[in-house]
């Protein structure tokens, strides 16, 4: 009798745990929203939501690419440096017009992605090592191109950074659009399915004749391009190119958003909705702590706690 009850309790617990893993991130967002509505002055205002959405936009764009990389059981540590590279390239090429500058920035991200992908797919370097190399080299390169912060006075860039359409900032529209696009790619394209299969079981994917190398390279190229684009968005918002500090620790924020959002580090699964919620969760957490003027060290500790929780959840999920 006791054993029976125990068995049921643990089964219930397991189900609860699984539900938390699946939907915990949404619950977290909800709780933070309620806490802030109750305790933070002036929280419930359009302006405030706009601020949070605008601040989270570049992080989310990076996290989308990161979700793809993690889906293949990889990771891309070079995203922050790609943002720096992108911001340098924008400043350097703005003289040719905003479109050329945008193209240059994206190309920069694509090239880094190609290098990352080739190292991972052809040379067989561990993703964490391959992208670490470019994480270090990328920012160095960015600083060679543009050694110091530089004002960006282009009106189009300024409009991109602070303009809106029917009250919704461009940055937010773009990030949302990209999230939908990436979700579509993951769900509906051959590439998306192959990516998941490779992440779930690379030997099986290989023996099934999947173009494993091509898919891996494309994943890192997309990740690089998205990070570069996030660099463009951040530059537009700042109206300055700041390769020294733009995107520092971005890889951690992005990985946290993805993992908190329920994408397992063991690959084979990509949750875009969860990634969006994960990015929002971190943003709200930071905002809450700042708004209540808690000591800056608390912010770091809180973020660490979230990461630990996320990794714990991922580990549970990994056990499956």
């Amino acid at each position: 009798m006791t054993e029976l009850t125990l068995g049921r309790v643990s089964a219930d617990r397991a189900r609860l745990l699984r539900l938390l893993q699946e939907y915990g991130v949404y619950l977290g967002v909800l709780v933070l929203l309620l806490v802030n509505i109750a305790f933070t002055p002036h929280f419930l205002s359009g302006e405030n939501f706009r601020t949070q959405a605008v601040q989270v936009a570049p992080v989310l764009v990076v996290a989308l690419g990161m979700a793809l990389a993690i889906g293949t059981e990889g990771v891309d540590l070079s995203v922050g440096s790609v943002m720096a590279l992108s911001t340098s390239l924008i400043s350097l090429y703005l003289g040719y017009g905003v479109w050329i500058a945008l193209l240059a920035a994206l190309l920069g991200g694509i090239v880094v992605g190609l290098a990352n992908g080739s190292l991972v797919a052809f040379v067989g370097v561990q993703p964490i090592v391959a992208t670490l190399a470019l994480m270090v080299a990328g920012r160095g390169l960015a600083l060679v191109m543009l050694p110091q912060l530089k004002q960006v006075n282009d009106p189009d860039m300024a409009a991109l950074g602070s303009g809106d359409l029917l009250g919704v900032p461009y940055l937010v529209l773009i990030a949302a659009g990209l999230a939908l696009l990436v979700a579509f790619v993951v769900r509906r394209t051959t590439f998306g399915r192959q990516l998941l299969a490779i992440g779930d079981s690379r030997p099986a994917a290989q023996l099934a004749g999947l173009p494993v190398r091509r898919v891996l390279i494309l994943v890192y190229v997309l990740c690089g391009a998205l990070a570069a684009f996030a660099g463009v968005l951040a530059t537009a918002r700042l109206t300055a190119s700041d390769p020294t500090s733009l995107g520092t620790l971005m890889e951690l924020s992005a990985i946290t958003a993805v993992v908190v959002g329920g994408t397992p580090l063991s690959g084979g699964r990509v949750r875009i909705g969860g990634t969006v919620a994960g990015a929002v969760l971190i943003q709200l957490l930071t905002a809450t702590l700042i708004k209540h003027d808690l000591p800056p060290s608390w912010t770091q500790i809180a973020q660490a706690v979230v990461i630990v929780l996320a990794v714990y959840a991922a580990r549970e999920r990994g056990k499956r």
Binding site: R188, T189, R193, P203, G209
Partner: protein
């Protein structure tokens, strides 16, 4: 020296060992043989303290009943193990590796390097190995590394030495050295337990043999008087006197094979694995690949499917050469492989039945990179019905299905590609009896439809009854081809048992 009695080991789902009796005597080389899943590795792990036996079994060592809690316990008691893969520290010097964990210490507790190097040189010289003991281990060849592992095993005053397929990556010359060392150990009164599949080696070096099958000891006794054929039949569990006329399997037997081969492999060679393997597969025929474990059957299938890069040799499908070392190229040419390790290399466990079936055919089921869901649904539907795949829905994860249904999903994945040749590596292993019969029937039907099939099976009955012809492999080379009336268990076992060099008569 070391003996076990009534030893059993049960894992959550299987009884790996069942009342095993086994004795290794001092000054004797004892061969431990058996096919995959016979329980050899479990027995080794019990002897070396990796696993604990079920209650009831006793382990006697040096006249006393013992129980080893950890591998270290066993090691300290004097039981040394040499694994297939050398498990030493590649970056440390040869001498450090030899004395790892028991380095000679000087007065201050520091390592006395001079003494260590001197002793290391002496220990290796005794085994006939002359190397600079100061060099890192990884600079040595695999054979020499194996010798260092052996020297280490001997140096710790071992009284029992366990060798698990020690020759699998050795050159013939190195094998000779190894045998010399084993003879020396025997003379010193050490008990050697030797695990190998290589018939010739067993007869060259071993005194006694114990044959395991399905977790039980089916034979134990001196090797000298034991006929090779008898040994093979013991391992495979087939009695050579009672070869059945009518099979229990679902195979019908003969197919009307086309004359021109659909697949032709010429002299496939891969170092240490395959040497000049040539074979033909005709459309509408099932070609069996016979041989013991480790004879190169799976390697041949993988080489054909582009999953194992070959050093030389060529594969042609319908007269066109297939680029080697590329799975996609082989698949495009019409070669599909159902791999031996279904769980690790076949299914994608986290994806649904539907996605698994559509996986290989995906590019063909897409337009501009967008998946055509309706077409996938039609194909999945067709195959789920035709192969009678039992799943709660097409969206169930494949990892949750039974082995037989997983295998059917894999078959469906390949049939959706319309292949010309199907390579089946152990298609019925680990699946229940009912599903086994279904899969066998399916293979038969596929061949009848004109597909060329290559069948690998450790189940002798399945192989003999399912195949129209059988190519027999041994040590990575073709030793015999059985056709027509020759396809019998008796002939197959004779071919496997024949000593090296005498196989073709």
């Amino acid at each position: 020296m070391l003996s076990v009695s009534g030893l059993s080991k049960t894992f959550p789902s299987v009884r790996a060992l069942d009342g095993v009796e086994f004795t290794a005597r001092a000054g004797e080389v004892h061969a431990l043989v058996g096919e995959n899943g016979a329980g050899k590795s479990t027995l080794i792990k019990l002897l070396t303290g990796v696993h604990r036996p079920d209650p009831g079994g006793t382990l006697t060592y040096d006249g006393r009943e013992v129980s080893f809690a950890t591998p270290l316990d066993a090691q300290q008691a004097g039981i040394s193990t040499i694994y297939q893969e050398v498990n030493l520290v590649p970056l440390m010097s040869v001498a450090r590796n030899l004395f790892l964990g028991r380095e000679p210490r000087g007065r201050l507790g520091l390592i006395d390097f001079r003494r260590m190097h001197r002793e290391a040189e002496r220990a290796l010289a005794e085994l006939g190995v002359r190397v600079d003991v100061r060099r890192p281990l990884r600079e040595l060849g695999v054979g020499a590394q194996q010798m260092v592992a052996l020297a280490r095993a001997v140096a710790v005053d071992a009284r029992v030495v366990l060798m698990d397929e020690p020759t699998s990556s050795l050159e013939p010359r190195e094998v000779a050295t190894l045998f010399g060392v084993i003879r020396m150990l025997r003379e010193r009164g050490i008990a050697v337990i030797y695990v190998s599949h290589r018939m010739d080696e067993l007869y060259a070096i071993c005194d006694t043999v114990t044959v395991l099958r399905d977790g039980k000891v089916v034979h134990t006794g001196p090797l000298a008087g034991l006929d090779r054929l008898r040994l093979v039949s013991l391992m495979l569990g087939r009695d050579m006197d009672t070869v059945q006329d009518e099979g229990l399997t679902k195979f019908t037997g003969e197919h009307d094979a086309g004359r021109e081969p659909v697949l032709r492999a010429e002299e496939l060679t891969a170092r240490h694995r395959l040497s000049e393997v040539s074979l033909d597969i005709r459309p509408g025929e099932v070609l069996g690949l016979g041989g013991l474990l480790g004879s190169g059957r799976s390697e041949t299938a993988k080489a054909l499917a582009g999953a194992l890069p070959v050093d030389s040799g060529r594969v042609t499908v319908a007269g066109t050469r297939v680029r080697g070392g590329s799975t996609p190229a082989a698949i495009r040419a019409g070669i599909s492989l159902l791999p031996e390790d279904r769980k690790a290399e076949g299914i994608v466990p986290g994806l649904s039945v539907r996605e698994n079936i559509a996986l290989a055919a995906l590019p063909g089921l897409s337009r501009f990179g967008l998946v055509d869901e309706a077409r996938i649904d039609r194909i999945v539907d067709t195959f789920v019905k035709r192969l009678r795949i039992k799943a709660s829905s097409a969206h169930q994860k494949v990892g949750e299905l039974s082995g037989g249904n997983q295998q059917k999903v894999l078959l469906a994945r390949w049939l959706a590609m319309n292949p010309k040749v199907l390579l089946l590596d152990e298609p019925t292993r680990g699946i229940d009896v009912g599903a086994k019969a279904e899969v066998q029937k399916l293979i038969d039907e596929l061949a009848a439809d004109g597909l060329g099939v290559l069948l690998i099976s450790s189940d002798m009955e399945e192989l003999i009854e399912g195949s129209d012809r059988v190519v027999v492999l041994k040590d990575g080379a073709v030793v015999e081809e059985l056709t027509g009336d020759q396809v019998t268990e008796d002939r197959l076992m004779r071919a496997i048992a024949a000593p090296a060099g005498e196989s073709r008569d």
